[in-house]
């Protein structure tokens, strides 16, 4: 009995936002498939029994959808924590938006939710690159080659601010316009500059050998 209790406590501690999210995906997909099935049966027979089944399946699917969206928002917020130090204010703002969405999921607007999803993903990508730039700067200082980073920094910062602007573009209609491909395309340009710094720093480090 004690062993079983310990197992449950450990299992709860081992659960991560990612594992929760993966579990909720499975739950949602199962219930959504059941909902579609019951809905189809009801549309064929239109009797009381099939209607009750459909209503029950609908409730479960809606509940699981909410849980899935909540688990994804928690996962996004948790991932943002990783490189938050690179851009504290912007990241905190998005994390606050995520928290308010989690508390208000019963009345969610799917378009706004999608915008928030991709804004969070974009911020995470920006933070990771700024974090990398900071690591390059520290390494360059060790190698007495600070100019290699300094020369590229304005272009990288400019490029990342353009990425941020893309994610903050106001919606022109009620429909969500996926801006993430544009974000990824712009991030590739930044990556090219970062890779150039990495290559130069590696060569300098090897030469000191």
């Amino acid at each position: 009995m004690f062993g079983l209790l310990t197992f449950f406590v450990l299992a709860q501690n081992l659960s991560t936002p990612l594992s929760d999210y993966q579990y909720q995906i499975g739950q949602y997909q199962t219930s959504y498939s059941d909902y579609l099935n019951k809905k189809n049966i009801f549309s064929q027979y239109h009797d009381l029994s099939s209607e009750q089944d459909k209503n029950e399946a609908t409730k479960i699917a809606i509940t699981n959808r909410q849980l899935l969206l909540k688990s994804y928002l928690v996962l996004l917020s948790s991932n943002l924590e990783k490189y938050k130090s690179s851009s504290i204010d912007d990241t905190t703002k998005i994390q606050n938006d995520i928290s308010s969405q989690i508390n208000n999921l019963d009345n969610f607007n799917y378009t706004n939710l999608q915008v928030l999803f991709y804004q969070a993903l974009t911020q995470h990508q920006i933070n990771r690159r700024l974090f990398l730039l900071d690591l390059y700067l520290k390494l360059a200082q060790t190698l007495n080659a600070k100019t290699i980073v300094d020369n590229q920094t304005p272009s990288i910062v400019q490029s990342l601010s353009e990425v941020k602007k893309i994610s903050l573009k106001p919606l022109l209609s009620d429909r969500f316009k996926d801006f993430y491909p544009d974000v990824q395309s712009k991030l590739t340009e930044t990556d090219d500059l970062l890779n150039l710094i990495y290559k130069n720093l590696t060569q300098i480090a090897v030469k000191t050998n």
Partner: protein, 107 residues
């Protein structure tokens, strides 16, 4: 000299009005010539193809060897930890895209 009885009688062969009899070996001769011609063409084509298919063995040309081979192994130990940290951030490219959900369930 006495004239023989049939000396002036025309033979059918030299009669201008009648056509000369066809020679039986004409058709086989044409066929033989055609066969020879075709076989000559085929032989010349085969010879041409053989010439084209022959590729001279390529001689390897010297290329400059990069001065830095496998840089990761050549990084001095004093910078190794910094490079490891950079590599771990560089490799952290995993992102989980939003799930696809049906926003119209029950509607």
């Amino acid at each position: 000299m006495d004239e023989t009885q049939f000396q002036n009688i025309d033979t059918p062969i030299i009669t201008p009005l009648s056509s000369p009899p066809k020679k039986k070996f004409t058709i086989p001769l044409i066929i033989i010539v055609l066969v020879i011609l075709i076989s000559l063409i085929i032989l010349s084509l085969l010879k041409k193809n053989n010439v084209e298919e022959y590729i001279e063995p390529s001689i390897p040309t010297p290329t400059p060897v990069p001065t830095i081979i496998n840089q990761a192994n050549q990084i001095p130990t004093q910078f190794k930890s910094q490079f490891d940290q950079i590599d771990s951030v560089k490799k952290d490219t995993s992102e989980i895209l939003p799930p696809t959900v049906d926003p119209d369930i029950g509607i």
